[in-house]
Subunit: 192 residues, 2 copies
């Protein structure tokens, strides 16, 4: 019966020391988690649909030469990472929805969310970095080691890669915001 | 004089609603932040000292051809990112030390730590990913786009890159642990 955020409003009379109500931004949490799901889905779909085949001269004859995401380990890691984050975001969106019905369990959930969000952030940020590192070589090449740029030939493929990376970066920012949100909500429940 | 470790001991009688003492793992926080500083420093130093020059045949004559971290935008990003995290870790180690003296401000600090740790995690995880993506091409090449492996020639350079990436990964894991620690400490201060 000690305190709530809104002064004077008593709640939960049975508990000996109820937590302060704190701010409740559960709806924002659900929205952000759904955004993460959308970003993960789009990132994966855009990348895997970007395969492109071009005719390349080989010993004087034009030979069809495909560019596929599967050819680059960095892009494979990207697809795996964002598949994991997509799955994770479905589970946590449901968890976040269920916790709206059970506000007394919210503190425990916030702790779990923070743990797993941090891990997912590490995974998808590194995947975005790996994809971007390889894509930059594809775009500009690296003359020092004679790695030629390929985006002049594979324009559609590179556009898909660029779009996918941009959405991946957006997804990473969403996870950072989710960590902010959980931290802020947890902090607001600590008595001053 | 306000808080103690042992639960249930009445404390800070002047405040109307004292925070629960919670767990106090400030020492572990300082140690982890120092580890992040050491990892950042080692990652940067090992990468920038890895330059190697080899003789390469060019039009029939051997020509000295250097391999430098500066030649790859991904490695430049890596060095910048870990320089930032090194600087950040110095500042937050001092902040974490100062908060041991002022435990009443700890909750506020934990929130700030969580915010900035999440941001730094995003930066160094993506830098580690970018570096690893490029290093993997250097190690294995990519026959689909005729990017040749270079680690067979530049062995010392590649060893430095690999060492630096391993330490960078370690640094990223340390930041994840820091987020876990702050979240756990904050959670322990919320009344049950």
């Amino acid at each position: 019966m000690s305190t709530t955020e809104k002064p004077g409003e008593p709640e939960n009379r049975t508990a000996p020391t109820p937590a302060p109500a704190g701010v409740d931004l559960s709806n924002l949490d659900v929205i952000l988690r759904f955004l993460l799901f959308a970003a993960s889905l789009v990132a994966v779909v855009v990348l895997v649909t970007g395969n492109q085949t071009e005719l390349v001269l080989f010993q004087g004859r034009p030979v069809p030469q495909p560019a596929k995401w599967r050819y680059s380990p960095a892009f494979v890691y990207f697809v795996v990472a964002f598949s994991v984050s997509g799955l994770y975001s479905i589970i946590t969106t449901l968890a976040s929805l269920s916790v709206i019905q059970r506000p007394h369990q919210k503190t425990k959930f916030l702790l779990h969310f923070l743990f797993w969000d941090a891990l997912i952030l590490g995974i998808i940020a590194s995947a975005t970095g790996a994809g971007a590192g390889v894509a930059y070589i594809g775009l500009k090449g690296n003359s020092h080691v004679h790695w030629n740029k390929i985006c002049s030939a594979y324009d559609t493929f590179c556009k898909h890669v660029a779009g996918s990376l941009a959405v991946g970066l957006f997804g990473s920012i969403v996870v950072v915001l989710l960590i902010f949100l959980s931290a802020f909500t947890l902090h607001s429940r600590v008595p001053k």
